[in-house]
């Protein structure tokens, strides 16, 4: 029971710290990431229920969500001031790279969706 209490306490602390310390820009990106995650889960559940018939379409859509999630997470990491020492990219450069990768991703997704 104390374990559960401990875990609950940790989660509460996490939540508190998250709400207070993260800047608004990063929270926006986090909301976007949650949305993309939900889309991915919905697609996967649909595939499990209905079957994989146009497998390339399913793969294309699912990988699109995973790709958007990864790219959003990378953007968040690069914009985070705390990580300034590991990456030395300006926010504009980070966003430009984000757009570049997205262009490639969506071109391939549209080609693969069939």
């Amino acid at each position: 029971m104390s374990q559960l209490g401990q875990v609950a306490g940790i989660l509460g602390k996490l939540n508190n710290e998250y709400q207070t310390t993260t800047p608004k820009k990063l929270k926006l990106i986090d909301a976007y990431l949650v949305y993309v995650l939900l889309t991915g889960i919905v697609q996967f559940a649909y595939c499990l229920l209905v079957g994989t018939f146009p497998f390339n379409s399913f793969l294309s859509g699912f990988i699109s969500t995973v790709g958007c999630f990864i790219l959003g997470a990378s953007l968040r990491i690069q914009l985070n001031k705390a990580n300034q020492s590991t990456f030395n990219v300006s926010p504009e450069r980070a966003f430009a790279d984000f757009v570049f990768a997205h262009v490639i991703l969506h071109l391939v997704v549209v080609n693969f969706i069939g």
């Binding site: 790709g67 790219l71 990378s74």
Partner: protein, 829 residues
């Protein structure tokens, strides 16, 4: 001094390029001052700035590497002509020609009726199109700017062209790993190393020619993205990986080595956010890009070979998430335990999931080609076709030295240096070395993947050695206190530079600032290094230079003698040294092209399928693609059975012509009789009741074609087709007629006749023999050879002999009695 420093701020920024982008070095301002001070002296003494000189030398060395790599691959073009070599390149050439004539979409959807006679081949879905597309693009571009080069020339010279680009990619890769100087060495090594040039001579138009370039370029981009953590470089890595997937089936090596690198970095506690960003983006973009190639299809999510990448991806996501949470929580010791426990659990879950899915059938197990790398006996028992290819045999010790000469000796030294001064990217090269060494030991063909790694590590070893020994100026400094430098590679600068400025001799050429370096990691050694005087250092440098010259000579010799044969044109040398060309293959294929009906089907062993289809333009039954083992086994059975049985198979397969290669007249050892046992084994695999390998050996277990050979062998179709009329031929007055020069025996079954085939064409040196399959005879041969005529009994002779009645001469027997006045009675007979 200070004034000079401030005026040289720009050169400081340029000089940072020289020290391999190492961020820690930029904080070492004091060393920069010394760098700039001496470089300033150079700047004022000559017109060329040190960075300019460095760039110029790099450019010149790389250009020389490109040119020498290109030139050393041109031996066969100079000696013979610009022709496509061997077997596989003929198919690639035919596909490329098809693409340039019919356009890209028709090429992707091409169904080839000329191959695998009754079945055909879906070319678009069973090849890696990168090679053809590359040649096609170059062809289109050149024609667009009105340089009309024929597609054959582009195909022949594509591999040497790309070998120069491989040298560039290796330079960039090594520059990321170590330093620019090591990069130049690596570029020079890979340009001429026989291990690589063996598969990329002019005329060898095969996937490996461009695949090694794509491999090194992908690895360079991967290392770049791990070092910077940039999304841009990761996306470029994914695009280069896409090019590699389109080029060669060996892309599996990349998609397994990079996850192993990530996993080992995690295990070594070197996880960083840069790693997360670079691997995640590379994996996702690379995954969906690789599935665009029709031949690869859905394999990246369905086969075991790709599961390691997916597993590491999942593990990395979990690790990053837990690491993020960990940063949010104030530090606590037990949380750390929880953290690692969680990671282990996630890893185990991922692994278990992959195993369960494999057993459930959702994920295909390792395919035969890759499983045989792990279990080397597997192919010999289960897939004899894979085992029969000569390139798939295990590597001998001598071939390591033959293909790599000096580099294989320097290779462990370089690996040791990388381990000693370990960074994230050097973990990669060490892993590459370990795995490539294993694979090169398993199969000769995979020496090719070992060669770039060996070149890089040997270059590192040599560069580090020469950093010390080629620097003959700091040798007489002894007492200056050592400033321990904090960078790992040989690019350090020393407090000795201070003394150097005082001791400079007038007129002595300054070394390039980048090349200055002494091993700064070991303070005790500093005092010892003063013992080695500049004379000894010069001697060592001269010895190393001589070894490198020997290396260059060896590489050129090996490329010229061993790897430049076009195999479609043979050359032998007469007693006076003049060259004698044996062009039988092309003679035979051209005869086929001109003298047979257009839809004729040719049966031969699968080695020659691509050449017959490419040069003869006729339909073949089996070719080098070897995708249908049963079909090949049928052909093998036809070749191994006696003529009547073989005729049944040939009529079933609807064959018009049979082609065999026979080397007995001139001593050519690559002929079908030498390959015959593989035909038997492959046929036995599918038809074990009809064909038994033991039948073809003598009682002692030898394979002989002379009188002591087994009768099954002496009567099989292959034997008869090869040795038809050979018994009449006496090649040399010292040997009996029918003496096989390849097997060095007199053949056992001579002067036989062929029943169901007839000889159509035999080339000048009897190397290629073509037979036409006769249709069924109209009339079956009667049982009795002579006609028996049924005669009626003659009235003048009786079969009965009247007892006792003597046959007197002149007596007429049974003379009719004539009674005057009565009618003659009717004859009773």
């Amino acid at each position: 001094m200070a004034a000079k420093v401030t005026t040289n701020q720009s050169s400081i920024k340029d000089d940072s390029e020289l020290t391999a982008n190492d961020p820690e070095l930029q904080t070492n301002v004091s060393s920069k001052k010394r760098l700039s001070s001496s470089s300033n002296m150079l700047a004022t003494s000559s017109l060329i700035s040190p960075t300019g000189l460095t760039s110029l030398i790099s450019f010149i060395v790389l250009t020389c590497a490109y040119i020498s790599g290109f030139m050393s691959r041109l031996f066969s073009v100079i000696r013979f002509e610009s022709i496509i070599h061997e077997f596989d390149p003929w198919f690639n050439y035919r596909s490329t020609a098809y693409m340039t004539e019919n356009g890209f979409y028709n090429f992707l959807n091409w169904f080839d009726e000329l191959a695998w006679y009754p079945l055909g081949r879906i070319v678009g879905g069973t090849i890696y199109p990168g090679l053809m597309v590359t040649s096609g693009v170059i062809h289109w571009f050149l024609h667009m700017i009105n340089i009309p080069i024929h597609i054959r020339e582009i195909c022949v010279f594509l591999a040497p062209f790309f070998s120069g680009l491989t040298a560039l990619a290796t330079y960039l890769f090594t520059k990321e790993l170590w330093s620019r100087r090591a990069g130049l060495f690596a570029a020079a090594f890979i340009a001429i190393a026989p291990g690589y040039s063996s598969r990329s001579v002019a005329g060898s138009y095969d996937n490996e020619g461009i695949a090694i370039f794509a491999l090194m370029f992908t690895y360079f981009l991967w290392i770049r993205s791990v070092k910077t953590g940039s999304v841009f470089w990761s996306s470029c890595t994914a695009l280069s990986y896409f090019y590699m997937v389109s080029a060669w089936g060996g892309y599996v090596f990349i998609i397994n080595l990079i996850p192993v690198h990530v996993f080992v970095l995690i295990v070594l506690r070197r996880y960083s956010l840069r790693l997360y960003v670079s691997y995640s983006i590379f994996y996702i973009l690379g995954l969906i890009l690789s599935m665009q190639i029709p031949f690869v299809g859905f394999q990246p999510v369905r086969t075991s070979e790709h599961m390691l990448a997916a597993g590491v991806f999942a593990l990395l996501q979990a690790y990053a998430f837990i690491d993020y949470l960990y940063t949010k929580i104030p530090r606590a010791a037990d949380i750390k335990q929880l953290f690692f426990g969680l990671i282990m659990i996630v890893g185990l879950i991922v692994f278990a999931a992959v195993v369960v899915l494999t057993y459930a059938g959702y994920i295909a197990p390792w395919s035969g080609r890759f499983y045989s790398l792990w279990d080397t006996n597997y192919a010999k028992i289960h897939i004899p076709i894979i085992a029969s290819v000569s390139e798939h045999q295990p590597t001998t010790w001598t071939s390591f030295f033959f293909d790599l000469h000096l580099l294989i000796c320097l290779f462990p030294v370089g690996a040791w240096f990388c381990i000693k001064e370990l960074t994230d990217e050097r973990v990669f090269i060490v892993l590459y070395a370990v795995f490539a060494s294993y694979f090169a030991g398993v199969m000769i063909r995979l020496m090719l993947t070992l060669t770039p790694c060996v070149c890089v590590l040997a270059a590192i070893a040599l560069s580090k050695t020469l950093d010390y020994y080629a620097d003959t100026e700091t040798s007489d400094m002894s007492t200056s206190p050592v400033v321990p430098t904090n960078d790992g590679d040989g690019d350090d600068t020393e407090s000795d530079k201070n003394n150097r400025n005082l001791y400079d001799k007038a007129g002595k050429p300054k070394p390039i600032p980048g090349r200055r370096g002494t091993p700064g990691t070991n303070p005790e050694a500093e005092e010892d290094t003063s013992i080695v005087s500049s004379n000894i250092k010069t001697v060592v440098v001269i010895c190393i230079a001589m070894m490198l010259m020997l290396f260059a000579v060896h590489c050129t010799w090996v490329t010229s003698n061993a790897y430049s044969s076009p195999s479609i044109v043979l050359a032998s040398y007469n007693n006076d040294g003049s060259r004698y060309i044996i062009d039988d293959f092309r003679e035979a294929y051209y005869w086929l092209r001109k003298n047979t009906p257009e839809r004729a089907r040719v049966m031969s062993w699968w080695d020659y399928g691509y050449q017959i289809a490419g040069m003869g333009n006729r339909t073949v039954l089996v070719d080098n693609n070897t995708w249908n083992n049963s079909h090949i086994a049928l052909v093998g059975k036809a070749m191994s059975s006696n003529e009547t049985e073989a005729y049944k198979i040939m009529t079933m397969l609807d064959v018009d012509y049979v082609l065999v290669i026979f080397g007995g007249m001139i001593g050519y050892s690559g002929d079908d009789i030498n390959k015959f046992l593989w035909m038997v084994r492959i046929a036995e695999g599918e038809h074990p009741k009809d064909i038994r390998e033991q039948d073809y050996f003598t009682e002692n277990g030898e394979f002989r074609v002379d009188r002591t050979g087994s009768p099954v062998l002496l009567n099989c179709l292959m034997y008869k087709l090869c040795y038809y009329r050979f018994g009449e031929l006496q090649t040399d007055f010292r040997s009996p007629p029918g003496f096989d020069r390849t097997r060095h025996v007199e053949i056992g079954n001579k002067n036989f006749d062929l029943q169901h085939v007839e000889e159509a064409y035999t080339t000048e040196h009897w190397i290629v023999r073509i037979y036409k399959v006769k249709k069924l005879a109209n009339r079956l041969q009667a049982k009795n050879a002579l006609r028996q005529v049924q005669r009626r009994k003659s009235i003048y002779s009786t079969t009965k002999k009247v007892a006792g009645q003597a046959r007197k001469q002149g007596v007429i027997l049974n003379k009719p009695q004539i009674k005057k006045g009565t009618k003659i009675s009717k004859r009773k007979t």
